[in-house]
Amino acid sequence: MAESAWQRRTVLAGIAHPGRFGMATAHPGVVARMIEPIAIYSISARRGEIAETVACLSDNLGAPVVDGPKRLASGGISVSGVGPGQWVAIGREGCQSTIALLQTALTGKASVVDQTDSRFILELSGDRVRCALAKGIPVDLHPSVFGPGDVAQTIAGHIHVQLASMTEHQAYELVTSASTAVSLWTWMTSSAAEFGLEVL
């Protein structure tokens, strides 16, 4: 799409700032990174096309996407299963061409809806990240239960989140509605403060 002259505005403009917050610990127990994707798409398989959609997603990502609550990331694109025959694809900087190809490839197999502006994405990591998340997320985050690549539709501090355990050690992706970003941020900073928080 052509770019407009208008100023883009991120949902936490004026609210979230980089730096160290909370307890002055030697190492931050929780590290927060706000992700600004270049594209987010809701992908819903058309009637009878789930297998085709899975195959198409897998081909384009070069990795095996499944029809289930799993997140797969490859080449700057992640695909998370959010319901039967439904996925959310998130593309990061540098994956423009792959995203465009994927969209074309899915034509006729799945409905693809632009959601680029609808979500707020937060990546949390650090030694104490599970302790901080436990203050509002009811899912058992122990790696033996919720391991790398697992996805859950759950809540964080009463806010709906799509939660994924990333492949990196003790790192989680929280995807929530853009409108609730401020409330999620308030909850997260409050929950992580005692462990020392670094905002990147």
Partner: protein, 999 residues
Amino acid sequence: MTASNTATVNGQPFRQSRGGHLERSRPLSFTFDGKNYSGFGGDTLASALMANGVKLLARSFKYHRPHGLLSAGSEEPNALVELRTDARREPNTRATTVELFEGLVATSQNRWPSLEFDVMAVNGLAAPLLGAGFYYKTFMWPAAFWEKLYEPLIRRAAGLGRAANAGDPDRYEKAFAHCDVLIIGSGPAGLMSALAVARRGARVILAEEDFALGGRLLCERQEINGQPAADWVHSIESELAALPNVTIMRRTTVFGVYDGGTYGALQRVNDHVASVPEHQPRQRAWRIIAKRSILAAGAIERPLVFGNNDRPGVMLAGAARTYLNRFAAMPGQKVVIFTAGDDGWRTARDAAAAGLHVEAIVDRRPDVAPDVTASSGSEARVILGGRIMNVSASHGVRGVGILDRNGQRTTISCDAVFMSGGWSPTVNLTCHLGGKPQWNEAIAAFVPGAKPAQMIVAGAANGTFALGQCLRAGAESGGAVASDLGLAGGPIECPKADDEPVAVTPLWYVKESTGLAFVDFQNDVTAKDVGLAAREGYRSVELLKRYTTLGMATDQGKTANVNGLAMLAASRNLDIAAVGTTVYRPPFVPVAIGALAGHHRGKDFRPTRRTPAHDWAVEQCGVMRESGAWLRAGWFPKGDEDWLAATSREVEATRNGVGVCDVSTLGKIDIQGSDAATFLDRVYCNTFSTLPVGRARYGLMLREDGMVMDDGTTSRLGQEHFLMTTTTANAGPVMQHLEFCHQCLWPDLDVQMVSVSEQWAQFSIAGPRAQNVVSRLVDRQHDVSLSAFAYLGAREVSLAGGCPARLFRISYSGELAYELAVPARYGDAAARAIMMAGEAFSITPYGTEALSVMRIEKGHVAGNELNGTTTARDLGLARMMSTKKDYIGRVMAGRPAFLAEDRWDLVGIKPVDRTARIRAGAHFIGIGEKPATERDRGYVTSVAYSPTVGHWIGLGLLNAGRKAIGSRMRAVDLLRDSDIEVEICDPVFVDPKGVRLHG
């Protein structure tokens, strides 16, 4: 001081110089009622006060009798104090559970002017008048006096501490924890079961109410594997702490059991420090989800019921051992033991060993095993088959009157009485899901009955009191749970310990008592009260509780209930098992409301949602108000305008020029697929398959029962692509409904839907000059002239040289209007651009109030009318209900009652006196009729002051309303004392022909 090892230790006259589990190197100073004292690390407030010789701690609830310590745990009914000061003041804190810290400030409560001299103690003299049910008997007449006189008087005289009078400055948290096995309690059974499951690799949470692990092992002079029990505790604690699969939660009380293996627990994270460290919570409420639980919560000792058994210095025998052995504090010097079982003899032995003078051991049993009597280790006088009738005391014990088995009365002077009525297993958590405990005659106690699924009970909580048995029970329970979870490994070796004698023959009440004999210490319930309640017909244990207050308040009768219901059973000549217990409900101990709220207080009470143009609205001085979870501008005041002035100005500016309103909160659902049109035809009562691409149509959705569910416009963006909008309030429910319809009713349809509410920021641009504004906004190549882009058009455009946007020519205000949608990240920029494009036309931002006024002026229905009780016919929308197709709600909407002629219709109303204000919620009553339910003809749903017509107007639902147009009714609101004569009119007040829509 008689004891050789006792001297004034650090100014604490009743502290032993050695022994106990104290950090003597860490002296702590604190105050009680303004007086300075000192204690040690490892003390509770109770033990430190005892070491300082403070025996009088509180005044009782009703009679203001002097009270000291009864127990040493969370069951304490007596020693309730106010902890801390000012905003942090916490009333009714049990001194026995308060971990001492430097600078602690505690105050006694429920006394005036002082603890030693309490004027209200005169109530004690009136005890014969203040018996069970006295409220109901004494203050019945005259009825009007209750609220104004009696209740305030009683509240001042009775009641306990004072709540803080300012907001709690500390933070509280809630958190979730998950484990394979939750172990509740860390006494011998708890520690052994933890070891047994942890060594086999289970994820374990060990929750201990105390600040130290060990339970009774810290309080007894027992040995395990030939070493002091406390040393064994430390070795097990070290092993558990080193295991990565074990979480030890100290200062954590599991207070409730809930469905699905969920347990509520309160962790007192920072109650043991003077001020909470920055960024940390004071307390944390845990929701622990466990596959299995092992309840090893121990047992609670029962008092004996005899005259003046509530005097300071009379305490539970096991608690006396706790103070002596754990805290090296001396609960007395010359003591008498009164026991119903072997346990009292252990106290005699430990008291003697600590250097106390045991004056007498009174055992209610005529025959006691010789090994028990031999174990007392003291020269005390032994009175078998005897009982204490009375304690003589003022503030402290002076002596006891004893009746021996031959009827001889003796008086023995003493300064403390240690009583043991037997132990009650702490079965509470086994009962929270409806289980009832079972009476076990052999141990004279209730033991767990039907337990929550996946919970097993071990040790004293299961009625197994002796140490060796507890250790074995813990090991076996842990092993069984581990095997049940499929964990590899075998049983663990059980350490060696003796099984001490634990026989008991209960004595529920000393009939020969003189003076008041208390059953429930916290609520001043005496043996006589229980008897009186039974005689007056309160024969059920639940009625006994309500009538006498036995077992109420902060301790919930932990020490009182069994004695009380045993006495009830005796008076009814029933077995205790037949009387049963009251219902055990969570929480096991009081839990501060702040802990249950956690993060969610103040502005964080619930999450809020902000639209993309939130900051713009704030800059425009928008008064942001909650609209569901959303924050929306209600109005944009200028200068000192009030809401009505601002709203009226916004309406007039829009109707005469142009206004802009942020409508991003409307629900938006993207619907695609080859069957999308068919799907819409089924969920809407009107037809969408005929809608051309590039057009929008108003749609009405019914529920299955024929009532209106929601309305909104849906646009056809492509042959197989629609965009539905919903009301703000129903965005979620409609999405849910559509998904249900697709997944459960018509899975065969090729339709895909997803909410795009958050993707688009949307603005309504309305008014005669709206087209001028829009044409300046969109990029030049798009022809948005009135002829090229007609009413109900829907198209894609671009703005600002490339920003993709959707433009809809739809109107809620009744004016020529557009809705412009842009990707959310440009919402803020779009709002500013609209303002700039509209500057030449004095564009005015308007809020939800003006939005509402304009829709009422147009007779458009909204949430007040779409309230789940109205049909399309009621709302004048029957013409929208297609007769050519089937749709959800069609059949049920045709029920005869929905078509009855006298059913209500949507009407407009105007006050006859045009200056009068109508009230929403007022009911329609005929002229000259007395307001009454049977003459109710309907009600006013929405009202507004209409600047366009110059007076208040309203919409309402009136029986046979359409026929009544032109007539007069009254709108009567008895709650707000408003009775207005109104004209019934057509619900459309402005531009009934809809001319303005077309510009």
